[in-house]
Symmetry: C3
Subunit: 155 residues, 3 copies
């Protein structure tokens, strides 16, 4: 299985994303890689803004989660060089900006889980938590935070 073949099949190009402030895209300790939070930005512009259950619906949210996932892939690639080195997506936390009464955060974060399974196959099987929140950076509807297991063991 080649990750880049899977990405091409579903027409996804990995963008270049770098943190704007005093932190880094991710930090590796042993075979664990901790990735910085990602939102659905493309070329520095938020592609969706608003709250699920008010300005946005579940389908919008899933698309936003998908874009945030692609930014996570960018962060991973920028650190380990080759996404085929991913041995397992360990854990995904998905924060969903929610209007009062919106409780379908898991359906939104499925947008991330489904893409991870498309791209990584069984290596994409992850532990997950889907959470609601009232506000996210710059109005983003979704933010994702991931922990990845990688093959090479630089300590």
């Amino acid at each position: 299985m080649d990750v880049y073949y899977n990405l091409k099949k579903i027409n996804i190009k990995i963008p270049n994303v770098t943190p704007r402030f005093q932190f880094v895209s991710g930090v590796q300790v042993g075979n664990l890689l901790f990735i910085s939070g990602q939102t659905p930005e493309v070329d520095g512009e938020m592609q969706f803004v608003g709250r699920l259950g008010k300005e946005l619906n579940v389908e919008n949210g899933k698309q936003a989660a998908r874009l945030a996932t692609i930014n996570c892939l960018s962060a991973i690639e920028s650190i380990i060089g080759d996404l085929n080195k991913v041995q397992q997506i360990v854990r995904v936390i998905g924060y969903v900006r929610s209007a009062e009464g919106f409780g379908e955060q898991p359906l939104v974060i499925n947008g991330a889980s489904e893409l991870l399974n498309e791209v990584f196959g069984s290596k994409g099987n992850h532990a997950r938590a889907a959470l609601g929140t009232n506000e996210l950076p710059f109005g983003a509807p979704v933010e994702l935070e991931m922990i990845i297991k990688i093959n090479d063991n630089k300590n």
Copy 2:
């Protein structure tokens, strides 16, 4: 110390819980086990719905945290087979759905911490963060996310 003896003493049976979507109950890397977020569901039904400080009080919230903890135990057991293999509860993050002005999230998450100490003794001593949030999946008042250290070291 036998964990199942402790559970029986306080009349807790570990249920069977499986994720409904494309993710897994937990992922193990080395001796760390990352558990998916758990809410106070029993047999697929949320036992408490609402916000702390509005529809629910601290005692309800503690009960909800206790039920979510039991679901975490279920997830752990489904992966490692035997809760006696737990060497340490490493970290617990507790999200508490909070009405405006409710600031007693730590008292709610005590429902989880106290149960972990009852069941695991000093192995139940964990790092913790208690947080508020406006919404959680399917109206849950509490969601828990845990990292566990286990004995056997399958890499």
Copy 3:
């Protein structure tokens, strides 16, 4: 580089902070140290209370993030004894209590990131997620949760 020299230069004294409930300041597994959530308390008193974008502005929030960071340093020191044993600040999650429409959580959490870089130099380079939330324990405007890599490898 000596961490205590850096702290003295910017006039920071590490306080003594202990959890009030049934959990611990942090748990170490291998060379990873998981730190309990910290708020801007000093001597048991919250130094800022309120929501960003309403009762508090970004500068207040940055100060609060700075104080919460100092409490994280206290937790780390209480466990490993010497902050010079910190090899890397691995990951920082910053929760910012936000009024409706406030989206500048990253600017608030810069108060933590900048201090970590001042104190630890390049060892302070961390993965980060900045998140909004409606409520935090006891009215705190900021809560921080950290993972640290340390030198000595007691398993």
